[in-house]
């Protein structure tokens, strides 16, 4: 731990000014140069009156300069999820000035970070607990959700990272990356860890392995992610003399095959990181065998609660409160744990928390099911619904028993694991689940399977009889009419509004009247109109009084009668 330095001391402490901080644009940057760069930009940002700087940097060194310059003037660092102006626009209320190393395309306004000249500079002492940054993550609704951090939590995380990686990675190693520092993982591992541990930041973020492999990687650390590590392609094995000291991956669990391929190609161990924007690093594991358990980060205490959901207290969280993740885990014998499912899909049904992933996993264990998607549907209340791809035997049962009874069989099957709330009430059986290009389920298509749009909204027209005065229509009120929903539960009758609406629509069609909706009308309901019955609708246009007279009859008994105002053309 003694090798760690605080950011405050880096800027104003008595340390070796010639020490290497970063390599950017092919040039080495020393502590002395960093201090000059921070000073000149802090002065510029202060002059611009910046309070909340939107930091977008392509190069990690310039992200350091922008961040420390903002801290120097007491401004907040606002880090958008990516460098697109769309991401920045979505959080427009959170920042007042764009701070960048290069202006993003199409952007003409902003503060461009510049190189500090030699000579005297003035830097202030900083309190890390009061240096604030805001990062963003995708909330459950897809809207950016802000997460606040302070410099001291980032320094504490860097110290913990040093504890797990310090032995493996030489002290003067360079830290390369294929991930951006705009996200927390990159910020922690590609920016803060080298900066606080005295290693050298490599500025660029490499999009292509080919570019990175031309660098001198001997003894280096490479901060990467499954996106890159599962796409190594046909790169040649790295020569022994150029082998990095370790590979890092975070973001999602790395498939075993990709982990093996990466370790082989680079000839180096791979450390996987598990965490989130909110929590920072939660756990790590050296990926040396099939199911290596995760070990909690130094300082992080884990707890496995109801529903196998992981909770933790951590020095990287803003307070000592337990943080509840939405990940399901099982404990390992030697203090670690295994992730069972990243489960951010928890809904409340009848006041009970239900994990959609869990229900899906359990459903798939039925011999009748080959795949399933479970989701909440807002009906009168939130109900659970399931879309199922039947297995071969499931398809056979569907033919034999029908959809209803197979759905009931599956509910019965789920009863072994789930309470009533966790058992889907409505079922659809499909050939395959609707997915988009990314392989993600399309929720709107799933929900459409349950929509009422397939049901009739008008009675079926059986006969039309024309008179001089108007028209008589024989109509069958289908028991499936969509209008029957929600009006009179348990007592299906055709609502009056529907009857008026139909009179207007059918008059427009059969009498060529220029009306779309009834704005002024009189109506009298003599008898109930029931679904499943044949009725006669009489329509007559009274041109003089500008009205449409209508009446519904059943066996010569008047059910409903009224008049609707017809506007003049």
């Amino acid at each position: 731990m003694s090798r760690m330095r605080s950011i405050a001391s880096l800027l104003s402490g008595p340390i070796d000014l010639a020490q290497l901080v970063a390599v950017t644009n092919g040039k080495a940057v020393t502590v002395d140069q960093l201090r000059h760069d921070v000073a000149v930009n802090a002065a510029g940002l202060a002059a611009a009156g910046c309070k909340h700087g939107l930091l977008i940097a392509e190069d990690t060194y310039w992200a350091v300069v922008g961040m420390l310059a903002l801290f120097q003037i007491g401004a907040e660092v606002v880090m958008p999820q990516n460098a697109t102006m769309g991401a920045s626009a979505a959080i427009r209320k959170d920042w007042d000035l764009l701070v960048c190393d290069r202006l993003p395309t199409g952007q003409s306004q902003g503060f461009q970070l510049r190189i500090g000249e030699g000579g005297i500079h003035r830097l202030l002492a900083m309190d890390p607990a009061h240096c604030r940054m805001t990062l963003f993550t995708s909330g459950s609704t897809g809207e950016p959700k802000s997460v606040s951090k302070t410099l001291d939590t980032m320094e504490r995380e860097a110290a913990a990272i040093e504890e797990i990686l310090g032995e493996q990675v030489p002290r003067d190693a360079r830290v390369f990356g294929t991930v951006t520092h705009q996200h927390l993982f990159g910020l922690s591992y590609k920016l803060f860890w080298p900066l606080c541990s005295g290693r050298c930041i490599d500025g660029p973020v490499y999009a292509l392995w080919e570019d990175l492999l031309t660098e001198n990687l001997a003894g280096a650390a490479i901060v990467s992610s499954p996106a890159h590590l599962t796409r190594l392609g046909t790169i040649d094995a790295v020569p022994e003399a150029n082998r990095p000291a370790c590979l890092l991956s975070a973001g999602a669990e790395l498939p075993v095959a990709a982990s093996v391929a990466a370790s082989k190609a680079f000839g180096t161990p791979l450390c996987e990181i598990y965490g989130s924007t909110e929590t920072g690093t939660i756990a790590f594991r050296w990926r040396d065998r099939m199911a290596t358990p995760w070990q909690p980060m130094p300082g992080v205490a884990i707890d496995i609660g109801e529903g196998d959901i992981l909770s933790l207290t951590s020095p990287f969280l803003p307070d000592q409160q337990a943080y509840r993740t939405s990940d399901r885990v099982v404990r390992d014998a030697d203090g670690g744990f295994h992730l069972v499912g990243r489960d951010d899909r928890i809904v409340k049904i009848d006041g009970k928390r239900v994990s959609l992933s869990q229900v899906e996993t359990q459903l798939t264990q039925s011999p009748l099911v080959s795949a399933s998607a479970v989701l909440p549907l807002l009906d009168d209340q939130t109900v659970l619904v399931a879309v199922v791809v039947p297995s071969e035997s499931g398809a056979e049962e569907l033919r034999r028993l029908g959809a209803f009874r197979v759905g009931r069989l599956l509910r019965h099957f789920l009863g072994e694991h789930q309470e009533a709330a966790g058992k889907p009430r409505r079922w659809r059986f499909v050939d395959r689940l609707p997915v988009n290009d990314m392989g993600k389920l399309r929720k709107e298509d799933l929900l459409a399977l349950f929509s009422v749009t397939g049901r009739p909204t008008e009675p079926e027209l059986r006969t039309v009889r024309r008179h001089d005065s108007g028209v008589e229509l024989d109509l069958f009120n289908s028991p499936d009419l969509a209008q029957l929903d929600g009006h009179f539960p348990n007592m299906p009758i055709i609502p009056g509004v529907a009857q008026i609406d139909w009179a207007v629509k059918l008059a427009a069609r059969h009498l060529n009247l220029p009306i779309e909706v009834a704005t002024h009308y009189q109506v009298k309901f003599h008898r109930l109109t029931l679904p499943g019955t044949l009725v006669t609708l009489k329509l007559a246009h009274d041109a003089v009084r500008q009205r449409l007279n209508f009446s519904y009859h059943r066996d010569d008994v008047v059910l409903t009668s009224g008049a609707i105002k017809v506007p003049l053309l």
Binding site: F404, R405, G407, N490
Partner: protein, 94 residues
């Protein structure tokens, strides 16, 4: 009796919002709960409410006797007729 059984089947489908099933698909003698029609405790709750509303049945507490009435459409129909007789033939709200 057949009409009443058919009404009860329609009521079950309507009250429980059962899909992909018609009154004729339900056998009057098959078990409503468990292995037969596969209704469960929440369904029983909702069916009880619907029966009270529709036929004016008084089901105060779930006793073993009541459970017997709920065994099948046929036993429910018998239960409804029995209560109607006791109430002096007063018909239910339709």
């Amino acid at each position: 009796m057949d009409d009443l059984e058919r009404d009860i089947k329609a009521l079950i489908i309507d009250a429980l919002k059962l899909e992909d099933i018609q009154p004729d698909d339900i056998d009057s003698r098959e078990m409503l709960f468990g292995t037969g029609l596969g209704l469960d405790s929440i369904d029983a709750l909702e069916l009880g409410i619907a029966l009270r509303k529709h036929y004016g049945l008084r089901i105060e507490t779930i006793t073993d006797e009541v459970k017997g009435h709920f065994a099948s459409v046929r036993s429910l129909a018998a239960f409804v007729q029995d209560q109607r007789k006791r109430d002096g033939g007063a018909d239910a709200v339709a």
